[in-house]
C-alpha cells in the first residue's frame, strides 16, 4: 500500500494549528480552568513508606472554617476483588481504588489518605494537617532484590506469584514471572567463541512533565458527572472513573483541556476520582491540583530494575545466544512494564537461541506508570552495553556487529511476532554515513559510543469526523489528546486526501460526549492511528462529494474522479469543479457533508533508532559532558518533519537525563529525599548541545502514507550509548544508572 511518492502537504512544515494559543498564553490547560462557585481540593498523603492505617479522624478538619467536605477511602464504593477491564489489560479493582485513597495500608510515602475541599487552596492545605491518622509503621522494602528475599516485608498479604500459568501458595512480593524462549539456549552458547555476562542496575526515574496533575469535577443533582482535566486520554479517564466510582459511563463526561506533557504518566488517574468524590460530597465544582512534590511522590515513576544479560558470539561476530533476567519494580501495586521490556530486550537482533525471564516485583514506592517506550530503555541499557563489549572483544566495529546481526523483515522476535518491513538496518547505515561517525575522536578523556533501540508501537481505536464548510475548509473533530503537535500531523493527512492546504483543516480535540471512542495518546499511536482515521474520514468526504458532483451534473457516480482538489466527470460530460466550489453547493445537493471513520489498525510498524554520542569525562569531578549527539530513526514517513525531529530530540534528552543524573534517592525509612526539580536534576539547555535528528524513511506497509510511530523509541538508546562513550573515554564499563559524578568517581577508584 505505502510507497514513496510525491505529496503536497505531507512532509511540509506548516505552523501548528494550536500554535498561536500556546505562544500567547491563551491556551487553557487543566489548571487554568475556572467555573463559578469553585472549591479547591487538597490531598493528605502518607508520611510513611509502609504503614497500616489504624484510624482516620477527620472531625477537626471538617470543623475548620472554610472547609466544605472531607473524603477518605470510606467514600469510595466497596472494592471487592474484582477485575476491572480498562481496555489496556485487566487490573485488580481493589489495587486501583487503594491507589486513589488508601483503605487499609499506606504503601509508599505520598500515598493518598484523605482529601479536603475548601473555599481556597490554602485553607484546604491547612485542614489536611488537622486530619488525625493513626499509623502502625511497618518496615519498607525499596529494592527488587530485597523484596524477593524470603524474609522481606510483605506489601500485600493476598498477593501470590503468578509464574508461567502456576500460582504460588504463599504471600510474595513477586507478582508475576513471565518467560519467552526461542531455539536451544545451551546449543547457542556452545556455538559461541566469546560470551559476555553482566549485571545492570537502573534507578527509579520520573516522566518529569512540567504540568502537575489536575482535575476539576462537577456533580449535578441529575447525576451527571463532568470532569475537566489534562490527560493523555479522555476516554480512559471515563473508564477509570466508571470503574473506581462504580458509576455508569453514560453519566460521565470527561473534557480534555490542554496537557502540559505526559510521556505515559498521564494515563493513570490519581486525583480525578478524588475531585469527583469531593464534588459529590459538597455539591460544588472542586478543583484539585498537585504540587511538584505530590507529582514525584504520588504519581507513577518508571521502574528501577535489576537486569542480567548474557550474550555469546562467534569469532566472526554472529550472535548465537542471548539470555536475560529482567527484574522490574512495579511500585506499590503489581503492573510494571516488564512485559514490554521483555518484548524489546533483544528485538533489534536476529538471534536463534534466546531465553527471556521477566519478574514484576512490588516495592514501597509509588505505583509505576508508563514512561516513553516503557521498559525498553532499562532493557536496552543492558543489551546494547553487552553488544558493545562483544564487538570490542571480537575487534569488530560496533556498527558492523549490529549490521551483521540486525533484525530484518521476516525475522522472528523471541516473544513471537515476526518483524514486518522495518528500518533498523537503514538507521545503522544512516549513522555510518553521517559525518559524525567518521569525525576525529582521539582527545584524552573524550569518547564515542553508539547504541540502538526498538519499540513496537501500537494501533488501537481512533475516531475522526470531518465537517465540510461552505468555503472549502473542513473542521476535523478528534478524540486524541494533542501532546506535541498531533493536531497538525492528523490534519495534514486529511488535507493531503482532500487536496487542500493544512491550514484549511481546523482540528479540534473534543470531550467524550462528542466523538467516538479514542484510545490514549500513547504507544506512539496518534499520528499513525488517528492519522489513519483522518485519512479514512477524508476518503469518506471525497466519496460523498463525488455523489454530490454526480448529482450536480446528472451523471453516474462512477464517472466522477477526484485529483489535485478537483472533481471532474470522466465520461461524457466535460465538467469540473474544485473542492472549494463544490463545498459551497452542498445545501442544494442534499445537505451538509460529514465524513467519518473509526478504526483499530493492526499494522503499527515497529520503530528503530541508532544513536551516536561523543562525551568528555571530567576525571576530577566525575561529570560527563555531552559534546555531540546524532540520532537516526526510522519514521516510516515523516508527516511534519519538524515535530518528528522534536520527538527525537526530546526523547534523546530525556534519555540523557536518565543516563547521567535522574533518580529517586531514598533514605532508609523509604522517604524520597529529592522530590523537587532542584534535586531531581533534569537536563537544562545549558547541559546540552544541539541534537542532530536524522529522519530515515522506510515506509510502514500498515499505513497509507507509511507512517510509523516516532515518539517513544528515541529515549531507548541514550543510556547505553553514553555508557559506551564513557568506556571509550576512560576505559570503565558503567553498569548502573544514573552514571552520576559520584558513581563515576567510585568506578574510577577516586572515592
Amino acid at each position: 500500500m505505502a510507497e514513496k511518492k510525491e505529496y503536497k502537504v505531507i512532509g511540509t512544515r506548516p505552523i501548528r494549528h494550536d500554535g498561536v494559543d500556546k505562544v500567547t498564553g491563551r491556551a487553557i490547560y487543566g489548571a487554568d480552568f475556572q467555573i463559578t462557585g469553585l472549591l479547591h481540593g487538597r490531598v493528605l498523603r502518607s508520611p510513611h513508606a509502609h504503614a497500616r492505617i489504624v484510624s482516620i479522624d477527620t472531625s477537626r478538619a471538617e470543623a475548620y472554617p472554610g472547609v466544605k467536605g472531607v473524603v477518605t477511602a470510606q467514600d469510595l464504593p466497596a472494592a471487592e476483588d474484582k477485575i476491572a477491564d480498562l481496555g489496556e489489560g485487566a487490573v485488580s479493582l481493589k489495587y486501583l481504588c487503594d491507589n486513589i485513597l488508601a483503605s487499609d495500608k499506606a504503601l509508599y510515602k505520598g500515598h493518598a489518605i484523605a482529601a479536603v475541599a475548601a473555599t481556597n487552596p490554602h485553607i484546604a492545605e491547612e485542614a489536611c494537617e488537622l486530619i488525625d491518622v493513626e499509623y502502625e509503621v511497618l518496615p519498607p522494602v525499596l529494592e527488587v532484590r530485597q523484596a524477593m528475599e524470603p524474609d522481606a516485608p510483605i506489601l500485600h498479604e493476598n498477593l501470590r506469584t503468578s509464574s508461567l500459568g502456576e500460582t504460588g501458595d504463599k504471600p510474595s512480593n513477586v507478582a508475576s514471572h513471565l518467560q519467552h524462549k526461542k531455539g536451544d539456549i545451551d546449543k547457542g552458547f556452545d556455538e559461541a567463541d566469546v560470551i559476555i555476562e553482566r549485571e545492570f542496575v537502573t534507578g527509579t526515574v520520573h516522566q518529569g512533565y512540567i504540568e502537575p496533575h489536575n482535575a476539576t469535577a462537577l456533580y449535578n443533582p441529575d447525576g451527571q458527572l463532568t470532569v475537566w482535566c489534562s490527560t493523555q486520554g479522555a476516554f480512559t479517564v471515563r473508564e477509570q472513573l466508571a470503574e473506581i466510582l462504580q458509576y455508569p459511563i453514560s453519566k460521565i463526561k470527561v473534557v480534555p483541556l490542554e496537557i502540559g506533557g505526559g510521556f505515559g504518566g498521564k494515563i493513570n488517574v490519581y486525583i480525578k476520582p478524588v475531585a469527583a468524590l469531593l464534588a459529590k460530597k459538597t455539591g460544588k465544582p472542586v478543583k484539585v491540583l498537585m504540587n511538584r512534590a505530590d507529582v514525584f511522590e504520588g504519581t507513577g515513576p518508571t521502574p528501577a530494575s535489576y537486569i542480567t544479560i548474557k550474550m555469546g558470539a562467534t569469532n566472526e561476530g554472529k550472535i548465537t545466544a542471548a539470555q536475560t533476567s529482567l527484574v522490574f519494580e512495579a511500585g506499590a501495586y503489581p503492573g510494571s512494564p516488564v512485559g514490554a521490556g521483555a518484548m524489546c530486550v533483544f528485538a533489534p537482533y536476529n538471534i536463534e537461541n534466546v531465553v527471556i525471564d521477566g519478574y514484576d516485583v512490588v516495592v514501597n514506592k509509588p505505583k509505576t506508570a508508563p514512561y516513553r517506550a516503557p521498559g525498553a530503555t532499562n532493557a536496552a541499557f543492558g543489551t546494547e552495553t553487552v553488544v558493545d563489549e562483544l564487538a570490542e572483544k571480537l575487534n569488530i566495529d560496533p556498527l558492523e556487529i549490529r549490521l551483521m546481526n540486525g533484525a530484518k523483515e521476516g525475522d522472528r522476535r523471541a516473544d513471537g511476532p515476526v518483524h514486518p518491513r522495518i528500518g533498523f538496518i537503514e538507521t545503522l547505515e544512516a549513522a555510518k554515513e553521517h559525518p559524525h561517525y567518521d569525525s576525529p575522536n582521539g582527545k584524552k578523556y573524550h569518547g564515542r559510543g553508539i547504541a540502538s533501540g526498538f519499540w513496537f508501537n501500537i494501533g488501537l481505536e481512533s475516531s475522526v469526523t470531518i465537517n465540510v464548510n461552505p468555503d472549502g475548509t473542513v473542521n476535523l473533530v478528534e478524540g486524541s489528546t494533542d501532546i506535541g503537535g498531533t493536531r497538525a500531523s492528523i490534519a495534514m493527512q486529511a488535507a493531503e486526501v482532500l487536496g487542500i492546504p493544512a491550514e484549511s483543516v481546523n482540528p479540534t480535540v473534543v470531550d467524550t460526549n462528542s466523538i467516538g471512542y479514542t484510545a490514549v495518546t500513547g504507544g506512539s499511536r496518534t499520528t499513525y492511528a488517528t492519522g489513519y482515521a483522518a485519512y479514512e474520514a477524508a476518503q469518506d468526504v471525497v466519496k460523498q462529494m463525488k455523489e454530490r458532483a454526480a448529482k450536480l451534473w446528472d451523471v453516474d457516480e462512477d464517472n466522477i474522479q477526484f485529483t489535485d482538489g478537483e472533481f471532474s466527470s470522466i465520461n461524457g460530460k466535460e465538467e469540473q469543479i474544485s473542492f472549494r466550489d463544490l463545498s459551497a453547493r452542498l445545501g442544494e445537493t442534499g445537505g451538509p457533508v460529514i465524513g467519518r471513520a473509526t478504526m483499530n489498525p493492526a499494522g503499527a510498524g515497529g520503530a528503530f533508532a541508532t544513536h551516536v554520542v561523543d562525551v568528555e569525562v571530567d576525571v576530577e569531578t566525575g561529570k560527563v559532558e555531552i559534546l555531540r549527539y546524532t540520532a537516526t530513526q526510522d519514521a516510516g514517513k515523516a508527516i511534519h518533519p519538524s515535530y518528528v525531529e522534536g520527538q527525537i530530540q526530546g526523547g534523546v534528552v530525556q534519555g540523557i537525563g536518565w543516563a547521567l543524573n535522574e533518580e529517586y534517592i531514598y533514605n532508609d525509612e523509604g522517604e524520597m529525599t529529592n522530590a523537587s526539580f532542584l534535586d531531581y536534576r533534569m537536563p537544562t539547555c545549558l547541559d546540552l548541545p544541539m541534537i542532530d535528528a536524522v529522519i530515515v524513511e522506510v515506509p510502514n506497509p500498515g499505513h497509507p502514507y507509511g507512517v510509523r510511530g516516532v515518539g517513544e523509541v528515541p529515549i531507548v538508546p541514550p543510556p547505553a550509548a553514553i555508557a559506551n562513550a564513557i568506556y571509550d573515554a576512560v576505559g570503565i564499563r558503567m553498569t548502573e544508572l544514573p552514571m552520576s559524578p559520584d558513581r563515576l568517581l567510585k568506578a574510577m577508584g577516586k572515592i
Binding site: V23, Y29, I210, G484, L678
Partner: protein
C-alpha cells in the same frame, strides 16, 4: 486569615488594582485573582521557570514574588506581548521553529527570551543556553527553542 492588602500596580501597561492575602504569591494573584493564566505553575519553588514574568525590567519567577510586593511596580506577562494583529517576533520564531510541543513551558521561555533580548539583542548560542537554563522543558530537548531565540534575535 490575615487581612487582605490593597495593591495597585501596572500589568502589561494597564493600571490594575487587587486585594491579596499576605501569603499569596504573584503567580497565584496573576492566575487566581486576575485570571492571567499564561504564567504556569510547574514547581512553585523557583526551579522550572514556567511562571517567568518581567518585574520592573527584571526576569523573575512569579512564584517566588509575593503579590503584595508588586505594589507600585510594573509587570510584563505573556498576555501583553502580542499586538492585536501581530505576534511578537519571539512568538513568531517559536512557531516557525516548532519550538514547542506540549506548550506548558512556552510562556515562561518566551518571557525569559524577551528579558534576554531586551538586555542582549545579539546573544551567542552559549549565552542563550546560559540565560534560559532557569527554564525547564521536558518535551523538546531545547534544540528548537535555542534556534528560535537565535532566529528572533536575528529578526529584530
Amino acid at each position: 486569615m490575615a487581612r487582605k492588602s490593597h495593591v495597585q500596580t501596572t500589568i502589561n501597561g494597564e493600571t490594575v488594582e487587587f486585594l491579596c492575602e499576605p501569603r499569596q504569591s504573584l503567580l497565584e494573584v496573576l492566575r487566581d485573582e486576575l485570571h492571567l493564566t499564561g504564567a504556569k505553575e510547574g514547581c512553585n519553588n523557583g526551579n522550572c521557570g514556567a511562571c517567568s514574568v518581567i518585574l520592573d525590567g527584571r526576569l523573575v519567577n512569579s512564584c517566588l514574588v509575593l503579590g503584595a510586593e508588586i505594589d507600585g511596580k510594573s509587570v510584563e506577562t505573556i498576555e501583553g506581548l502580542a499586538e492585536p494583529e501581530k505576534l511578537h517576533p519571539i512568538q513568531d520564531a517559536f512557531l516557525e521553529n516548532a519550538a514547542l510541543q506540549c506548550g506548558i513551558c512556552t510562556p515562561g521561555f518566551i518571557m525569559s527570551a524577551k528579558a534576554l533580548l531586551d538586555n542582549n539583542p545579539n546573544p551567542t548560542e552559549h549565552e542563550v543556553r546560559y540565560w534560559l537554563a532557569g527554564n525547564l522543558c521536558r518535551c523538546t530537548g531545547y534544540d528548537k527553542i535555542v534556534r528560535a531565540v537565535l532566529d528572533a534575535a536575528a529578526a529584530t
